[in-house]
């Protein structure tokens, strides 16, 4: 019987088109994605599912990721594929008949489930097939693909898709059997996906990776755990293995699914209404009222007036809006989705603003951002679902014929329904606001900026959602089929999120879009507001036009065919409708034209592809000038006038340029900002402009008489940066109403700029560009002439007058000479008395400040008035840093050091000569009250260190350039942290650094060099690996020796002239202070990529003469990796920390403390230890403080309690 039911089910499923449609959709999607991300569209870089860089699109890792990802999303099909197998009988009422037949529960349920499962598996095969077939498409860039391996496609099915189909399928099947309601099954499915997301967030917080991996029902955490630190080679070559963890996870969850099935089997009854969830008793009114004797009644109705004037129309509209809104809000499924959404949001709230494990204060804009973003998915689901419900409401309840004959205009009905959908959005926004305020209060933050909530939620988010309501509603009216409507809307969501990837980038045709709007406490919504509103008006005009049309096509009555509705449309088209259509068409076209004028005429509109081609052309045309010697700036005297209200700035003044090379210079190649207007750009010696490419901003000037070596001249600049109208996207966030931050980057620069070149190898190949050398070799004599900061100059004299509006303060490097007001503007004259790097900034904002002083050095923090949370920590950090650095390195070169806050449009802090601009988002609002890592303090220490490491000693523009800046800054700040907060805090940092380094190298798009030869921009190397390495060396070699080396190095190289210093120069100093026995460390850490797998196995202990004898074994393996992560094991001969911990020292807290720590030389892969310790040991560790790079840190320590003999 089982097989008969199964085969019947299969025949039923496979005879219907649905399953083939699903198959085709999934196939199309996966095929399309692989196409889109494998060079189908240029100018678009997408990193999804691990794609990107040197990882092949058809590598086992990417195929697994994509297959798992698509199949996960496709689980939403399971209600239709598996749920329907049991639901269908109820829907068609076949169960009344069917259940009277003699079949067993197992045969019935099992057969149906198996049938549904097989059908689903068939549908899901399309994913792998789509990915596989895409890899053969001849038009794609074949560099994206490696060799196709069968196992790459098979393993994801074996360990992911099939088990997940079983797990989710059984759950969906169970819900369908219990509720007998298709919609409940869908909601169950959504809940399953959402809860998975929630669990994912929670799991991330669980320290125990094994537990986290086991808790995830879909097995992706186990996969993630396995592949998190995989290198390019592993991703490309390694078939995803069935690790113990993955296997255990799959078995456990399939077991749970089995239990659920058994439960359903036990509870299921072949009756017509088995265990239906009843919340209320049926309240059918039955009256035995048989009274056949006629009672004559007199129909006598009071007189009423029917009024059909405007006033009563409005009353009717309001009544209907209320009525419809209440209907929507009371919809149980809406409430279900909403509850899930709120749960999801609440859990995400706990993650507000984490940074290095430290939370920021839940300032309102962040709460609005994060809650708004996490809730958006649910709002989309709600809009899709409710728009269908409300359009179909009357027809679902069969009251349509009554309502449709009421003397109410169609527009009243239409408007009321649409408005009800809007009202729900308003309610949702209010709900987010309440949740946000509660969340803030719970986190102990009481500065509720209600106006910001209103602006951010009701002024921005709400508009987007309302536009979507229009669209969803209209789709449902036009489609006139609920499920088709839902499907079209989902397709639209998908399409709009990938429009950009298809090269459709202009907001003029992306429904509801805008150029972006971002709030900053300093700048408010600033200049974003106007274009935002214009764009929204444009889209609202469009939406209203659509609404008018769909109102005309609204189904009123029983005529539902499109042709009939179209005939009715003409009938319904009244004069007033025509007039409003014309008005909105006019508005739409007018605003569109205005937008186009702003984005494409006042400003230049370029697609990503055009940008790409520009880079290609720049390189192709001008690379030939790369080798030419260029003059260098030796003095900069530029006055900058900042006009915050207009967002304009002018740069006026001169640079003295000098020929520092050994040959005469006859031509200067100038890169200039093509959006700027140059009133003047002249040299003081006779010259001629022989070439000017205005499109790219590249000009060639030839001197009548060459500039001889050692000679100098003036370059006079008068440049206006004028903000004109608005752009399609990406407005200039350096010129703001409050918080302007301009740098020397705005000025013209000399010579061919390698920075414009595209780095993506596949794109380079496609456009016939030679393989790019990402950084100059360490012995490249030309590159050694430049610092890595600037090719235009090194040490310069600097002077500037910067002006702004009287309500703001303007800042630049140097000391304030004079400050005055003139013509309603404020002027500040800054002058530097010593030479500085050619790296300057001009800021203007409305600041508060605190001032202090350390050993005659003036210190100040300039901040936005509400951001005073951490300014004293920053001040203290400056003092402590100056103290440590002047004591251990060289003297501080300035008489003043200042920190300036700037708006959060960039989130970094950067050290300029005697000034540190510091983003409002990364320290000013950090909540350090109870956290481990005080990062405002740390970032300040790091940036202060840059006054030495970059502003005194600066690396040449070759490999390893940032070794002597970023790595030394990491080291310096680490020491300041250690002195202030203790070594434990440093170890907390190191944990993050280890993780960031290992994930960083896993995501490396090009290649990983040894630390000594890193490229600029490889943050995971110079920040994270640099930190670990310097922390380890200081421990192995000793802080004093390292400081001595660093000091000598600084003394030798500070303020040097070209050629500049390299990492190899620096490493010599380190080697000098390192004992012979530890020289291998420098080689392992700086000159090669070395990794360890250290772990403790077999721990036991016994009491021994009042003390404890602890026995344990350690396993150590050492690997050397090449630049794409191919590893080779090398022999051990290393000193490694061995430590024992006890909980006994501190009886009250039972806090684990180290009782033994010593370095041992490990010469074998396995080594046994026997130690005598004073306290009862609780844990034993090898390298427990992570001084060596190790991918599995959890096994570095082992508790004694787990394996007591």
């Amino acid at each position: 019987m089982f097989f008969r039911i199964l085969s019947f089910e299969l025949k039923y499923k496979f005879n219907r088109p649905a399953i083939y449609i699903y198959w085709a959709i999934l196939f199309g999607l996966s095929f399309f994605f692989i196409n889109a991300f494998s060079g189908l569209v240029d100018g678009v870089t997408v990193a999804l599912g691990g794609l990107g860089g040197k990882v092949y699109t058809n590598s086992p890792y990417v195929v697994y990721n994509m297959t798992a990802g698509f199949s996960f999303m496709a689980l939403i099909l399971l209600p239709a594929l598996i749920g329907s197998s049991v639901y269908r009988d109820y829907e068609t009422n076949a169960h009344a008949l069917l259940f009277s037949y003699p079949i067993s529960k197992f045969d019935y349920l099992g057969g149906r489930l198996a049938g549904g499962f097989i059908a689903s598996l068939f549908v899901f095969t399309s994913i792998g097939l789509g990915i596989w077939l895409a890899s053969f498409m001849p038009y794609l860039n074949q560099d994206f693909f490696g060799e196709n391996m069968f196992m790459s496609y098979f393993m994801p099915y074996l360990s992911n898709v099939i088990p997940n189909l079983i797990i989710a399928g059984v759950i969906i099947f169970a819900i369908a059997a219990v509720t007998r309601n298709l919609l409940a099954t869908y909601l169950g499915c959504i809940a399953l996906l959402v809860l998975y997301g929630v669990a994912g967030t929670l799991i991330n917080d669980i320290e125990n990776i094994t537990l986290a991996s086991m808790l995830d029902p879909f097995g992706s955490k186990a996969f993630e755990t396995l592949t998190k630190y995989w290198t390019i080679t592993e991703k490309n070559e390694q078939i995803i293995p069935f690790t113990k963890l993955i296997f255990a996870n799959r078995i456990v969850w399939m077991g749970i699914a089995g239990l659920i099935f058994i439960f359903v089997l036990a509870k299921f009854k072949f009756s017509q209404s088995v265990f239906q969830l009843k919340f209320k008793k049926n309240s059918r009114l039955v009256f035995a009222n048989i009274n056949p004797v006629l009672k004559v009644l007199k129909l006598n109705l009071p007189d009423v007036k029917q009024v059909f004037n405007l006033k009563s129309r409005i009353k009717q509209l309001i009544r209907l809006i209320k009525f419809e809104t209440i209907n929507l809000v009371k919809n149980p499924y809406f409430l279900g989705i909403l509850a899930t959404g709120i749960l999801f949001v609440l859990i995400n709230t706990a993650q507000l603003g984490k940074f290095y494990g430290t939370t920021t204060f839940p300032v309102t804009y962040q709460v609005v951002d994060i809650l708004g973003a996490t809730f958006t998915l649910f709002v989309l689901i709600i809009i899709t679902f409710l728009s269908g419900e409300i359009v179909w409401n009357e027809r679902s309840f069969k009251v349509n014929e009554m309502i449709d004959t009421m003397p109410v205009p169609t527009w009243t009905i239409y408007t009321s329904k649409l408005s009800a959908l809007f009202s729900v959005q308003v309610i949702l926004m209010a709900l987010i606001m309440v949740i946000g305020i509660i969340a803030q209060a719970v986190m102990g933050y009481f500065n509720f900026e209600v106006d910001l909530y209103i602006k951010g939620l009701f002024g921005i988010k709400l508009l987007d959602f309302i536009l979507l309501c229009f669209l969803a509603f209209i789709v449902h009216v036009l489609a006139n089929n609920k499920y088709l409507g839902h499907f079209i809307i989902i397709l639209y969501y998908l399409f709009s999120s990938f429009m950009g990837s298809l090269g459709l980038e202009h907001n003029l045709y992306d429904f509801g879009s805008d150029p972006g709007i971002m709030y900053s406490d300093m700048n408010g919504y600033g200049h974003f507001v106007k274009p935002f509103l214009i764009y929204k008006s444009y889209w609202f005009a469009f939406a209203i036009i659509l609404a008018i049309f769909s109102n005309l096509l609204w189904v009123r009555g029983n005529e539902t065919t499109f042709s009939k509705r179209f005939t009715l449309l003409k009938e319904r088209l009244t004069m007033s409708t025509k007039v409003s259509l014309v008005i909105f068409l006019f508005l739409f076209a007018g605003l569109g034209a205005f937008i186009y004028y702003n984005t494409n005429i006042l400003n230049e509109y370029k697609t990503s592809k055009e940008h790409l081609l520009e880079s290609v052309n720049y390189e192709k045309q001008y690379k030939k000038y790369a080798g030419y010697a260029q003059p260098r700036i030796v003095e900069m005297n530029i006055n900058v006038d900042i006009y915050p209200k207009k967002r304009d700035a002018t740069f006026k003044g001169y640079c003295i340029i000098k020929n520092k090379s050994k040959e005469p210079i006859d031509s200067v190649f100038l890169n200039y900002n093509q959006a700027a207007e140059f009133n003047r750009l002249v040299f003081d010696i006779p010259y001629e402009k022989v070439f000017d490419d205005k499109k790219t901003g590249f000009a060639i000037y030839t001197f009548k008489k060459p500039l001889e070596p050692g000679d100098s001249t003036y370059l006079r600049i008068d440049m206006d940066i004028i903000t004109k109208g608005f752009r399609n996207s990406g407005s200039n966030t350096r010129l703001l109403y409050n918080g302007t931050f301009l740098t020397t980057g705005f000025l013209p620069s000399f010579g061919y700029n390698k920075g414009y070149e595209i780095t993506d190898e596949k794109k380079r190949k496609k456009y016939d560009l030679p393989e790019k050398q990402l950084v100059a070799k360490i012995n490249d004599t030309t590159a050694l002439q430049n610092t890595y900061i600037s090719n235009d100059g090194d040490w310069i004299r600097f002077e500037t007058v910067v002006s702004t509006t009287p309500d703001q303060i303007a800042i630049a490097p140097g000391y304030l000479e004079k400050e005055w007001e003139e013509n309603g503007r404020k002027y500040f004259h800054y002058k530097m008395d010593s030479k500085i790097l050619n790296f300057a900034a001009w800021l203007s904002a409305d600041y508060e400040k605190i001032e202090d002083e350390w050993n005659g050095i003036d210190l100040a923090v300039y901040y936005h008035k509400d951001h005073d949370y951490n300014i004293h920590d920053m001040m203290k950090s400056m003092k402590k840093s100056l103290e440590y650095y002047t004591a251990n390195f060289t003297p501080f070169q300035f008489k003043q050091l200042r920190i300036f806050e700037f708006p959060r449009f960039s989130s970094f802090a950067q050290s300029f000569p005697n000034m540190i601009p510091f983003s409002e988002s990364i320290g000013f609002i950090a909540d350090v009250r109870k956290e481990d890592v005080n990062y405002p303090f740390w970032v300040t220490a790091h940036e202060t260190a840059h006054q030495w490491w970059a502003h005194q000693v600066i690396g040449a523009n070759v490999e390893g350039a940032t070794v002597t800046s970023e790595i030394l800054c990491q080291y310096a700040s680490l020491k300041v942290i250690e002195k202030e907060f203790g070594i434990e805090k440093v170890r907390d940092f190191i944990k993050y650094d280890m993780d960031n380094y290992l994930t960083g190298r896993s995501n490396e798009p090009h290649y990983e060099p040894p630390l000594l030869y890193l490229r600029p921009g490889q943050g995971y190397l110079h920040y994270n690996k640099g930190n670990i390495v310097m922390y380890a060396l200081a421990d192995y070699i000793g802080e004093d020796k390292i400081n001595a080396a660093v000091k000598a190095f600084a003394q030798d190289y500070a303020f040097q002239e070209p050629p500049f210093v390299t990492s190899e120069d620096f490493i010599k100093y380190l080697k000098d202070v390192t004992p012979d026995s530890l020289q291998y460390l420098i080689h392992d850490m700086f000159e090669t990529i070395t990794l360890y797998e250290n772990k403790v196995t077999d721990v036991s202990y016994e009491e021994f003469e009042g003390k404890y004898k602890v026995n344990f074994t350690v396993d150590c393996n050492k690997f050397r990796s090449d630049s794409i992560g191919r590893e080779e094991e090398i022999p051990m001969n290393d000193w490694i920390d061995i430590a024992v911990f006890s909980e006994e020292i501190n009886d009250s807290t039972r806090h684990e403390q180290e009782i033994f720590l010593q370095k041992f030389k490990i010469e074998e892969n396995t080594k046994k230890f026997e130690l005598i310790v004073d306290y009862k040991p609780s844990k034993v560790g090898i390298d427990p403080y992570l001084k060596l790079i190790d991918r599995h840190r959890n096994d570095n320590t082992k508790s004694t309690s787990t394996l007591r003999n």
Binding site: N282, S283, R284, L285, V286, F287, N289, I290, N291, P292, L294, K295, V296, L297, K298, L299, N300, L301, P302, V304, K305, Q306, V307, F308, K311, S312, K315, Q316, R319, L320, F323, N327, K330, N393, F397, K398, V399, E401, M402, I403, D404, T405, M406, P407, V408, P409, R556, G557, N558, E559, T561, K564, T567, L568, E571
Partner: protein, 296 residues
């Protein structure tokens, strides 16, 4: 006041011709539209109720073009659809109040009065706070007529209102319908002859989209007077009777069959009977079929 239907035709997209050139004039009072299931009654009702379009023809109420001036008609219309549901979780009183507002009774006091009056007079007052979804079929129909009576309709259309009601409930419903004023047009569509004979002063018979008869029931009965013959026959003989005589109806009676035949003269040992409206109904349908067969 009259409703005039001229040359009305309608064919559905699936090819079914639901109305064939229908001409009908309906005056004040209760008008019965009688026809078997699928005759086109509901199509005609819905067309008059502005829910459906006609392919050709005109419908006019006192100079208002029903097919074009839908908004004007709706102001004068009360409509009880053949089949209707209710919103979930709403009481009769609240629903009626809602409908009243939509009917343009925007004065709150007036609205309240009429809602109460209607609930009382349709005998629903005691259950006015209960959810409509719990109502029995008869109560639902009474609620339906109550909403149709809201406002001052000049034209009330009730589409198959008694189908599925038990005799007592139907009785009550007839009682209610008979009370609706004489000064307005009430069109009652039904397939139950008694509905018409109980209530209607004028009637028409429609079958397969065609208007077969039209007039006062008493006059129509008079027209067939003397032409209806009855005989009690054995079950087994039915077939031969149907072949040989113009049998318009046959019904079981105590295990045997009573057949009625339409004929100018006594067909064969039949007994003449006083015709009822039922005989009119069956004979007109039978004769129209004969006519159709002859034409082919």
């Amino acid at each position: 006041m009259e409703l005039k239907i001229t040359n009305l035709s309608k064919t559905y997209p699936n090819g079914v011709q639901a109305l064939k050139n229908v001409n009908l004039t309906i005056t004040k009072g209760m008008f019965g539209l009688l026809g078997p299931n699928g005759a086109g009654k509901s199509t005609l009702m819905r067309t008059i109720a502005t829910l459906q379009e006609a392919d050709q023809g005109e419908v006019e109420l006192n100079g208002i073009n029903v097919l074009k001036q839908k908004a004007d008609i709706r102001k004068k219309l009360g409509y009880l659809p053949q089949e209707f549901g209710v919103y979930p979780k709403i009481s009769a009183e609240a629903m009626l109040d809602h409908f009243a507002e939509l009917k343009g009774i925007t004065n709150k006091k007036e609205r309240k009065e009429i809602v109460i009056a209607l609930l009382q007079q349709t005998n629903l007052f005691h259950v006015r706070k209960k959810n409509l979804s719990g109502y029995s079929g008869g109560m639902k129909q009474r609620f339906g007529i109550a909403q149709a009576l809201l406002g001052n309709p000049n034209l009330i259309i009730v589409d198959e209102p008694t189908a599925g009601l038990d005799p007592a409930e139907r009785n009550r419903f007839h009682n209610l319908l008979s009370e609706i004023g004489e000064n307005i047009i009430v069109i009652l569509s039904t397939h139950i002859v008694d509905d018409v004979s109980d209530l209607c002063k004028n009637m028409a018979i429609i079958n397969e989209g065609e208007m077969l008869l039209n007039g006062k029931p008493s006059e129509l009965i008079k027209e067939v007077d003397g032409k209806i013959w009855e005989k009690i026959i054995d079950k087994n003989d039915l077939n031969s009777y149907q072949e040989n005589f113009n049998i318009i109806s046959a019904k079981l009676y105590l295990g045997q069959i009573i057949v009625h035949a339409y004929s100018e003269t006594n067909p064969d040992a039949f007994e003449k009977v006083n015709p009822t409206l039922e005989d009119v109904y069956f004979s007109s349908i039978k004769n129209s079929k004969l006519q159709a067969n002859l034409n082919h």
